[in-house]
Structure formats: structure tokens, C-alpha cells
Symmetry: C2
Subunit: 362 residues, 2 copies
């Protein structure tokens, strides 16, 4: 089976760093091998740097980003707990679904798709919630919801933030923003294939862990005895060894470059896309001032067919861009520029391809 | 960070096939790319062959084996449902824990660790259970529990079987044995690194799916719209692309060799270990007639220290063998010979190393 060499400019996965692909070739170690435990510890140290946190419990869940979301609810929510969730896209809605399955009573704070949620509305939606949950970078809309005011105003609530599409691409400051629980994915701005979900949990949140969560696989009380601590580790489940090599390597690339520099690289690619796409007839769709540099949503120009247009890009140029989800399916495209994809040469390549694609409209 | 090149002869992971390591190098595709959907379909076809089933819903869960276990309970069990679980090791106990978290009323059928469970006891433990669950190959003890009588006698119950350490190593005949739900792991006899959990579900079980299981990530009602069917697939979560390349390649190796031949290869390696280990002072620990060829448990000889002995094998020879879990920690070793490790040359290598290790005892 032959696979094409795509330029991945959809909402994720992004192209992985070459160092990440090299890491996959390393010999497999046992999950209790001292050499593997060292790599896991170093991976978690690197994650602390990328998350900008000192949280002791910082590690990758052995599944993709949505499992990180589920981990973040089932370990802190008991039936009947009040949870405020910001909803302005697919992933806010998913949070409501996951929270409800854990028995939460959900108060939705809804905003139009494509617009950011006013933090004040999240803080005042319920007098005393157990948790306030919001998506930092909405992968379905390309919108950034601001987090920094939520930590100061959260009161007794735990603050949960979805950083799947933000971590490594724009500033995520877990400790400075007083975020209690956050999760991400490997396949966006970290430049690693999908398969793991980095999470971080504050000491304050650790004191409120549900004793026996409904999920065994995602039970932080059990997992923490494997992923943290000195010396021997208690076996919980078999860690996905090769994916951890890949994440370790991807984090190494980001840290070698410098986190600030990685943010700037994503920003400059996004700025160029935002400047040039409207000139080609692709109007920017997300609210000004809240546009993600790493994921740009554009309206599909009149006269251009959604599916045919994306197929043309894929078949003629090997470039993947993403379609819209849910209510904006067929109306918007999602153009990602994340991880190893986030290079100006890829921006130019896409713009050239789009110019050809839309020539007949001009 | 340098990693040693281990010969993995513990309870898993095993050494991956070279073809699997090559597959990791393939360019990453998007999870909705037609080329990736083709690979997923072909992977699922290969899984049907290895599972010996025609079940439409046969695919890998995007997490390790224990998530397959959780999937198998939460999608079929509602609070108050009666479940019979066979317990003669760690993984039978884990089934009870996972089932209880889904609200099951569990009837345990216990047997001494190291001995097999009489199928008749599982069939008569409860007059009308919703489910009968048992581990085929107990990774903690090296014991095979027989499955073939359970399907015929299960009545209205669903039959759930843990095949983590059996699939690809000894006969697993899902359709012939009338197994309704089964899960496995990639890192044992399939010769692929850990990270995915192949599952298969009978049509009979599909008719009894819980409508909204407590887990969103493992919700089969939602996942089936992505992993099966013709044409466009509904996005659920981002599939772990590179791990799927690896599994696809590993299954290809097994099928090219021939499933029967792969079983025989595991059997002949196990036979040789069973013949030679007692001569070196390592008495076979599991019940005769129920010993797994792919995972041999032995008593640690008097005068040999558990931890020091395993460290010596690791440091001097780069060979990993596994210690005992729970009540048999410090008493037994677990010697795996699975996947690409299952070659007679590795058997000879280990026996040579053990001869040196125990020379002072003779």
C-alpha cells in the first residue's frame, strides 16, 4: 500500500517534524525498563516547559485528544456536579456531551460559531459551579477564547481548558492563568502524529480527584503511580512506547527552537495567510481579534464547490485543507498551519495553488 | 537519548517485526484522506482474518488493550446488569473492576492463580446473566482458559473474551466459538508496538448496544460510523495514523506467513522453553495442559534473587523477562516469546543466558 506525501494544512494532523519520524525507528523498550522510565520522565519535564507549568501531574494520556477531554471530566465530576461549559463550536459541544455522561449538570454558555465567548459570561453563568470548562482554540471555527481572566475570577471552581489546537502554537500559560486542568493533542502544533493527549493537573485539582472514576483506563489515581514519583513504578496499562518516543522528540524540537520562537513562527504564517487569503476571494470567517494564526477559517467563495475544490488541492498538489463541521459544513474551509507544516514555504505553496484554483472566478 | 536494543521476552511488549518499524516511516495522512480510509478498511479486513470472524464491526480501538476491555463493558452493560467474570489472575480481576465501574453486578468465578477455570462453572454461576466474561490467555499466570464450550452453553448471555495475549499466538476462533465480543492488544503475538486494541463485535451483540455509554471516547455507536461503511466516514476522533500503519504492516506479516504457521511458530518456541527450563531449575508454574506457549511462567529457583536476576539478564544480555504481579511477585518469572520475538534463536539465546545465570546453583 503506497501513501502519498501530503502537505497537511487541514485542522490536524499536521506534518510531523523529521526528528519525530526518526524517533519511531528506535528499538521498542518494555514499559518498566529503566531506560523507558527515564524517557517518560524527560517527556513529562518537556511537557511542563511547553505547558509553562510546575504541575507534578503532567504527562500524556495513552490515547488521542478526546480521551484527554474525557480524563478531565471523569476524574473530577461526580453525578449532580454543576459544570459551566462555553460552547461556540464542535468541541464545546463535545465537552457538554462528555460532562453529561459523567453525570454533570451542565450550564451552557453559548456564543455564535465564529465568535469568541466573553469570559465574564462564563464566570457569572452559575453562582457556584464545581467546574468551568472552555475550549482555548476552537478547531471547528478557528476562534481563540481568552483564558487569562478566568483563573482570577473562578472562585472555588476548577478551571478546565481544552488546548488541543493551542499548545505549542500560541501562548498557553497554565500557571500564570491559574488553569487547573488542561489537555491537548500531539497532532497539531507539536508536530507529532496523533495518538497521545498531554494533560496537566494542578495540585489544587489533585485534592479533588474522584476516588473511583467511571473510567478505569483514564483513572488518574492509578495512572499517577506509574507516570510520576521516584524509583519503581506501579504497572497500570502498557504505555504506547513508540508514540512516546515520537512525542519526546517533537517536544525536543519545540524546546530547541524556543517556545517563544515557535509561537512567532505560527503567528507569522497565520499573519501571511490572513493577509493574502482575502485577496484570493477567501474572506476570513472568524471574529477579528480572536483569529487563530495556526488555524484559519475562510468562507468558500461563490462559484467554488467545497468538495471538488478540496479534492483538486489534494489530487493536483497533494495539499490537504479541511472542510467545515456541523452547521458550517459546505460554507467554510479550515486551513491549518501547525507543527512542521508551519513554514512560510507551505504558506506560499498553498496560496499559489489557491490562486490557480480560483483563477476562473476572477 | 540512547535506547538499548532489547530482546523482549517479558509479558509484552514483544519485539516488533521489521516491516512494522518500516511502516512507521510512512508519511502521515489525514484521518479522512481516501488513502487512509483504504488502509483502515484493509486493516480491518486483515483483523477479520486473524480473529477468524466475519463480524462487520472489527477494528482497532485508539488506545491500548485495557481500553479494549473498557470498550467491551461500557457499550453493553447498564447499571444493575448481571455479569459473570472468571478470575484466575490480574486481568480477570481487572475485568471485575471495569465492569463494576459500568454499574454491573458481578458474580466472580474464582480459581487459584496458575490453574484454568472450568467452563462449566462459568456457565452455571448465574441463572441468567447479561454477560459471561473471561480471559483467554492470562498474562499474569501463563494459563489458557478454554473458550470453546462457553459459546454453546451461554444461552442468552453475551460472551466476552480477553484475547490480549492469545490473538496471533494460539488459535482464536471467534465465529466458531460463538464469541460475541473480544479485544486484544497489538504488542503481544501480533508483533506491533503497544498503542491499539483490536476489537470485534458480533451482530448479536450489536443489537444490544447501550445507547449512550458512559464513555464518549469508546462509544461504539459513534465510532462505527467512522470505521465501517461505504464512502464518506463521519469524524469521531482523530485516528492514531502512524500506529495504524504499524498494525496494518504487522497483520500483513502474520497473514503472509499464514495464521496456522504463526500459531505453530509460537507453539514450537513454547515447547522448547517448556522442555528446557526445568532442566535449568526453573520449574513450570502453570497447570499442565493449560500452559500458554507464548507466555511461560516459571518458579524462581531457590538461591536466585528475583530483581537481581532480571537485572543481570537486562544489563549483561539486553534480554527482558517479566517478574510476577500481585500475589506471585517475587515468586515467578514470566517469559514471553511472542510476535517477532517468537524465533527459536531467541529461545536458545535466553536458555544460554539462564544457564550462565544459574551456574552457581548447580
Amino acid at each position: 500500500m503506497i501513501h502519498s506525501d501530503r502537505i497537511l494544512m487541514g485542522p490536524g494532523p499536521s506534518n510531523p517534524y523529521p526528528e519525530v519520524m526518526e524517533a519511531f525507528a528506535r528499538p521498542v523498550l518494555g514499559h518498566l525498563d529503566p531506560e523507558f522510565i527515564s524517557l517518560l520522565d524527560e517527556t513529562n519535564d518537556r511537557l511542563r516547559e511547553v505547558w509553562q507549568t510546575k504541575n507534578a501531574l503532567t504527562f500524556p494520556i495513552s490515547a488521542t485528544g478526546s480521551a484527554g477531554m474525557e480524563t478531565s471530566f471523569v476524574n473530577f465530576i461526580s453525578p449532580g456536579d454543576e459544570v459551566v461549559v462555553g460552547v461556540n463550536g464542535v468541541f464545546g459541544n463535545r465537552m457538554c456531551d462528555v460532562a453529561s455522561r459523567a453525570g454533570a449538570v451542565v450550564t451552557k454558555v453559548e456564543e455564535d460559531w465564529g465568535r469568541a465567548i466573553d469570559p465574564e459570561r462564563l464566570l457569572t453563568a452559575h453562582p457556584n459551579p464545581k467546574m468551568i470548562a472552555v475550549v482555548h482554540a476552537e478547531t471547528s471555527t478557528g476562534v481563540r477564547n481568552d483564558i487569562h481572566d478566568l483563573g482570577a475570577g473562578k472562585g472555588d471552581a476548577l478551571l478546565l481548558v481544552d488546548c488541543v489546537t493551542s499548545l505549542g502554537g500560541i501562548p498557553v500559560l497554565i500557571d500564570e492563568w491559574a488553569v487547573d486542568i488542561a489537555y491537548s493533542g500531539t497532532q497539531k502544533c507539536l508536530g507529532v502524529p496523533p495518538g497521545l493527549s498531554p494533560v496537566t493537573v494542578s495540585d489544587r485539582a489533585m485534592e479533588r480527584l474522584v476516588e473511583t472514576p467511571q473510567s478505569w483506563y483514564l483513572d488518574l489515581n492509578m495512572i499517577k503511580d506509574y507516570v510520576t514519583g521516584d524509583g519503581a513504578r506501579a504497572y497500570h496499562h502498557t504505555a504506547p512506547i513508540s508514540m512516546l518516543y515520537a512525542l519526546h522528540a517533537g517536544l525536543g524540537v519545540v524546546i530547541n527552537e524556543g517556545l517563544q520562537q515557535a509561537w512567532e513562527r505560527h503567528q507569522s504564517c497565520g499573519d501571511e495567510l490572513h493577509r493574502c487569503l482575502p485577496e484570493l476571494g477567501f474572506d476570513l470567517w472568524a471574529q477579528e481579534g480572536h483569529r487563530l494564526p495556526e488555524l484559519t477559517t475562510v468562507s468558500i467563495p461563490d462559484g467554488l464547490d467545497d468538495v471538488e475544490g478540496r479534492q483538486h488541492l489534494l489530487n493536483r498538489y497533494g495539499i490537504e485543507v479541511g472542510g467545515g463541521l456541523g452547521p458550517v459544513a459546505g460554507k467554510v474551509w479550515r486551513i491549518g498551519c501547525m507543527g512542521h507544516t508551519a513554514q512560510m514555504r507551505n504558506v506560499k505553496m498553498l496560496l499559489g495553488a489557491l490562486e490557480e484554483l480560483t483563477a476562473h472566478l476572477r
